[in-house]
Each structure stands twice: as C-alpha cells, then as structure tokens.
Amino acid sequence: MDLNKIENLLELYFEGETSLKQEAQLQEYFTSDEVAPHLKEYVPIFGAFAKAKETGFNRTLELPETKRSYKWIPVAASVLLCIGLFLTYNQKQGSENDLGTYKDPEVAALKTKQALFMMGSFMNKGTGQLEKLETFEETANQIIK
C-alpha cells in the first residue's frame, strides 16, 4: 500500500477522523510483515487491538430450566367446578318440570281411565267400613228408645 496514504491515514486516525473502513486498512497494514521502519513503533498499538479481540467468553452457559407455571391449574379447576354445578342444577330443574304428561291422547285417555278406576276401587273399600257404622247406629237407637 502507498506509504503516503498510510501516513495520512495514521494522522487522521489520531485525530479520530478515520472511518471504520480506513481503520481496517491501517489494521491490515500494521499487522502485516511489511511495515516501513519509521512506522514500526505503531505496530504494537494495532497488535494490541488484534490481540484484545482474540479472547472470548469460554464458559459453557448453563441456562436455568424453564419453570412451567402451574398458576392456571386452580383457575381451570374452579371453572370446571362451576360448569359442573351449573349443569347438574339445570338437569334437576328439568326433572321438576317434567310432569309425566302423555303426548298421545289415546294413551292419555286410557291412563286417566285406569287412574279413575283405581280411585273408585279405593272409594268402595271405604264405604264397606261405613256399613258397620250403620249397624252401630241401629243398635244404639234400640237401646236409647
């Protein structure tokens, strides 16, 4: 590389006026084996930068395990509980509304008839007991007269 150019760049360098690209040129020149004798004293500066860049982080990084958060579990449980309660409550109400109505009129009529007959038979059972009461009254009348 042109020696004049290097000297110019070097001057700019110490004024802080060089661009990164120009600094790379300087770096390249001063770490090469062909440095002009009167510029040799600048070699260690650029050597130092190159050397400083050689070190690095040399540990193996152990990242802490990601803790899975179980925060949402109680929330999910309570939501499920609410849904469960709601459903069972609804079902119960449904059974209260169901009065056992028959949809087919013929069946309904038949069932009603059966029910009424059953009631009739219960009524007759009751009247049987009343006959005894009648005899009791007759005897009582005989005595009191």
Binding site: F14, L20, E23, E41, A50, K53, P64
Partner: protein, 169 residues
C-alpha cells in the same frame, strides 16, 4: 424462544460482552462471571428481547451497567482488591514475538486510561462499533465520542513513544 434459538442469538454477542466486561473489570474471572450473569439475565428476559431491535445493544448496556455496579461495590468496600495477574495466558497468535512485549505494554496502557476513554477506544478499535453506536450506548454526542477517541489514541501513542525512547536514551 427456546434454548437453541436463544443461544443462536446470544453466541455471536457473548465474546464481545466478555471483552467489554474485561476492559472494565480487568480481572478475567470477574469478566467471565459478569458475562455469565448478563447472559442468564438475558435468558430470563427472553420474552422482552424478542421484541428488541438489537439484542446486542441491549446486552452491551446490561454488561456495562453490571460492570459499573461491580466497580462501585468494589471501590466502596474497604477491601482493596489487588490483581497483579493481569496477563492473559490464552493468547498464542500474536504475529511477531519481538513485538509481544510492546503489545502487552499497549494493553496495559489501555487499562490505565480513564474509564470513558477506555470504553470508547475499546468499542471503536477492538469491536469496530460506529461512532453513532458508541454515542448511543454511552449517552454522548458523536463529536464527544470523536474527541474522546482521539484523546485515548494520542495518550496511548505518547505513552508508547515515551517508553520507546526511554529504552533508547
């Protein structure tokens, strides 16, 4: 972001973080600790860094702040930490062996620079950040960065030449 994605993002940056930490804290071990600490902090903030424009700038700021905190804690405690083992044993690719003494001397000179100059010089000449990046990172304007950089470079040159001539005269 899973572990692999995170590592892919962070691996290109971690050496830079380490070197920055080392520039500030000087001790190698402390710099490794600092880098590790910062990386783990990044990992626990990985949801945040997903949204960031540049993970690097964020990480650099974190490292810088972490190191400043460390330095503050060190200077406020009465314990004076003596670190004489500054030399790094890991280097092996220095170009010419006759120069390695002067190279180490320059590295030592860098350590003696005022903090701001040291940071600017490091970010520019070792890590090749642009002046505007440095300005943003250190909360300076670009002119201030340029001036600081120039001062740092000139100080290094003066000190180096002084030593050079001292040997001759």
């Amino acid at each position: 972001m899973n572990q692999n994605e995170f590592l892919a993002k962070v691996t290109p940056v971690q050496d830079r973080l380490y070197r920055l930490a080392k520039r500030l804290l000087v001790s190698e071990d402390e710099a490794q600790d600092a880098t590790q600490e910062v990386l783990i902090k990044l990992w626990s903030n990985r949801k945040k860094i997903k949204k960031l424009r540049s993970v690097e700038a964020f990480a650099v700021t974190m490292t810088k702040n972490y190191c400043y905190d460390k330095l503050k804690a060190k200077s406020s405690s009465n314990l004076q930490l003596v670190h004489t083992n500054y030399e790094d044993q890991h280097y092996n690719t220095v170009k010419t062996s006759e120069n390695s003494d002067s190279v180490n001397w320059v590295l030592k000179l860098m350590k003696d620079l005022p903090e701001q100059q040291r940071l600017v010089l490091h970010m520019r000449d070792v890590e090749q950040y642009t002046n505007s990046e440095i300005a943003e990172e250190l909360d300076l304007n670009e002119t201030a960065v340029r001036v600081t950089l120039s001062r740092a470079r000139k100080t290094i040159r003066e000190q180096l030449l002084k030593k050079h001539n001292y040997g001759l005269k």
